[in-house]
Amino acid sequence: MTGVQPAIRLTGLTKSFGSVHAVDGVDLDIIEGEFFSMLGPSGSGKTTVLRLIAGFEQPTSGTISLLGQDVTDRAPFDRDVNTVFQDYALFPHMSVLDNVAYGLRVRGVAKRARHEQARQALDTVRLGSFADRKPSQLSGGQRQRVALARATVVQPKVLLLDEPLGALDLKLREQMQVELKELQRTLGITFIFVTHDQQEALTLSDRIAVFNEGKIEQLGTPAEIYERPASPFVAAFVGTSNIFDDTVSQTLLGRAGTHSVRPEKVSVTTENRPLSADRTAAGVLAEVIYVGSSTQLIVDLDAGTRVVVLEQNDAHRVATNGRGARVTVGWNDSDIVTLAPPVLTSHP
C-alpha cells in the first residue's frame, strides 16, 4: 500500500431515484492496490455506487475523488477508471482483437501498436488464438475474459467489476476467481468488485464493505466481517449465524444484548456425555442435513430457541443418532459476538 492518499474517496455520497434512496450517505476510502469488495443483497445499491464511480450517474449529493482529484463532475471518458460490465457489453460488430484494442484506438494509438498490445492482453487471459472471432462466437467465460482484457489494456488506476462472474456456472466461477486474484496481483491495480455472493467476497478480498439499503453496514477484512459481524444484518447475511435476541441471550448466555455464534463454533454431543465448553444447553435434534464434508444439525433447545450446528463427518458423530434424539450443545464465551447492546429498560 503506497502513500496515504486513497485510490478512491467517497464522501457523503447519495443517489436518489425519485423517492428511492439507492445510495444513502456513503463515506469510503479505498486504498491503492487493494482488492476491495462491495457485498450486499439485491437492491442494496452496489451497482449504483459503481456507476457513480465510473461516471454513468451523477450523485444527488456528495463527492468522488480519484487519487486525490475531485472527479465528481467529470464525464466517464475523462476518468481513469474502467469497468467490467455484468453483461460484458462487448461490441458485437467488432472482432475480439478490435474490442480489446478499442480503448487504445480512441486514445489515438496507431493500429500496429494497439494490435500488438491487445494481443498481449489477450495472451494474459489465455485467449490469444481467439483474436479474430466475433464476441458471439465465444462462450460465457471467454467473453468475460475478453471484457477483462479490454478494460485492463488501457491500464486504468482502478478497475470496477460488477458481478463479473454472475453469469458463469459454479466450476468456471471458481476457476475465474483464482484467475481474477492472480490478475490483480500481476497488474497491481485497485479492484473494486461487486458481488452478492458472500463466499466469493470472503475468498477474494483484502477488505469488504457490506451494503444494506444504500448504506455501509460494516467495513473490514474478511476475517473481521465473518468472525466479528457488527450487526444482526451482517451476521445473517455473511455466512450462517445463530442469533440470540435479548431475552434468549439472558437465559442462554447470562448476559443482556443481541449475540451471535457461528454454527461451526458450536459443539454438540449425545446427552449425558461430557462436553468441554464454557456454556452448555440441552435440546432435541430436529433435523440432520448432510452437506458433504460436514453435517448440519438443527437443534431445538429446551430454552425455546433453535440453533444450527456444523459437525465434521468423523467417527463419533451425533448425527447418527437421528432425529428426535436428545443432545447437548455448547460454546465458548470467546466465540460469542455481541451484535447489539442490551435493550435499555427503565430503572426500578
Binding site: T83, A89, L90, P92, H93, Y102, V106, S136
Partner: protein
C-alpha cells in the same frame, strides 16, 4: 410444425389467390406495355416495342423520373439525418415534454395527405412568402419521411440499451467517437430499412406533392396522372410502370440480403 394434408392444400390455395391478386394486375400492365392497342383493350390485339422506344425518347417521362429521384433522395437524406438526431435525443436524454415531442414527430404520417398538403401550401406561400419549388417539395416530403426513419431508429436504440455506449465512454471515447464507432454501426440496418421506406413513400407521393411542388416541377406520379388519360400516351405509362417495378425490386433485394446477413452475425 406439421400440418395435415387438407390444411396444407387450403393454405397453398389461399396463398396462391393472394399472390395472384397482387401480381396479376402487374402482369397485365407488363403485357399491355407491348400491346398494339392504344386504349388498353384486353386481350391485346398484337405486340410491339413501339411504346418502349417512345418512352425512352419521351423527355417528359425521363425528366419526371429524374425529378422524382432527386426529390426522393434529398428528402430521404434529410430524413436520415434529422430522424437519427431526433431519435437519439428522445431515447438517450431525459427532458420535459419528451413524450409530447415524440408524438408530434410521428403525427405527420397519420395526418391525411390533403391536410398536410394544404397546411404546408399555406405556410410556404402566405406564411413564409416563398415560391413553391423543388425545395418546398423536398421539405414537404421530409416531414413524413422522417417518421419512418425515426420509428426504425428509435426501436433499435431501445432494444440496444445504453450498455454498449456506456462501455465505449468508459474506455475513453467521447460522444462523437462513440456514435461513429459503436452506435452508428448498430444502427446501420435500421437506417437502411427506414431510408428505404422513406424513399418509397416519397417516390410515389402525389397528394402532398400536388400542393407543395412548384408548377414547373413534374414528379413521376404527377406526370403519369397527366398522361394516363391521354389516348396516345397510355401504353407509355405502362412502360414506365414496368420499369418502376423492375427498379423497386433492386432495393428490396438488398434489404432482404442485409436482413439475412444480420441474422447470421447475431
Amino acid at each position: 410444425m406439421r400440418l395435415s394434408r387438407p390444411a396444407r392444400g387450403l393454405l397453398a390455395a389461399i396463398t396462391a389467390v393472394v399472390l395472384a391478386l397482387i401480381y396479376l394486375p402487374l402482369l397485365v400492365v407488363f403485357v399491355n406495355s407491348f400491346s398494339t392497342s392504344q386504349n388498353l383493350t384486353w386481350p391485346p390485339p398484337g405486340f410491339t416495342l413501339e411504346w418502349w422506344a417512345k418512352a425512352f425518347q419521351s423527355d417528359g417521362a425521363l425528366d419526371a423520373v429524374l425529378t422524382s429521384l432527386q426529390v426522393a433522395l434529398a428528402s430521404t437524406a434529410v430524413a436520415l439525418v434529422l430522424g437519427t438526431l431526433i431519435s437519439l435525443g428522445l431515447q438517450r436524454f431525459e427532458f420535459f415534454g419528451r413524450d409530447a415531442i415524440s408524438l408530434l414527430v410521428i403525427l405527420p404520417i397519420a395526418l391525411p395527405g390533403i391536410v398536410t398538403g394544404i397546411a404546408l401550401n399555406n405556410a410556404f406561400r402566405t406564411g413564409l412568402g416563398v415560391q413553391l419549388s423543388i425545395l418546398t417539395l423536398i421539405i414537404a416530403h421530409a416531414t413524413f419521411c422522417i417518421v419512418t426513419v425515426f420509428n426504425n431508429v428509435i426501436a433499435r436504440l431501445r432494444r440496444l440499451g445504453t450498455s454498449l455506449e456506456d462501455a465505449s465512454s468508459d474506455l475513453g471515447a467521447g460522444i462523437w467517437t462513440t456514435f461513429r464507432l459503436v452506435t452508428f454501426p448498430q444502427l446501420r440496418s435500421a437506417l437502411f430499412a427506414g431510408g428505404l421506406l422513406a424513399f418509397a413513400l416519397s417516390f410515389d407521393e402525389i397528394i402532398v406533392t400536388t400542393f407543395t411542388a412548384g408548377s414547373s416541377v413534374k414528379t413521376l406520379p404527377l406526370w403519369i396522372l397527366d398522361n394516363l388519360f391521354r389516348p396516345h400516351q397510355a401504353p407509355v405509362v405502362n412502360v414506365i410502370a414496368v420499369v418502376l417495378v423492375l427498379v423497386s425490386i433492386i432495393p428490396i433485394y438488398f434489404a432482404q440480403r442485409i436482413a439475412g446477413a444480420e441474422k447470421v452475425v447475431r
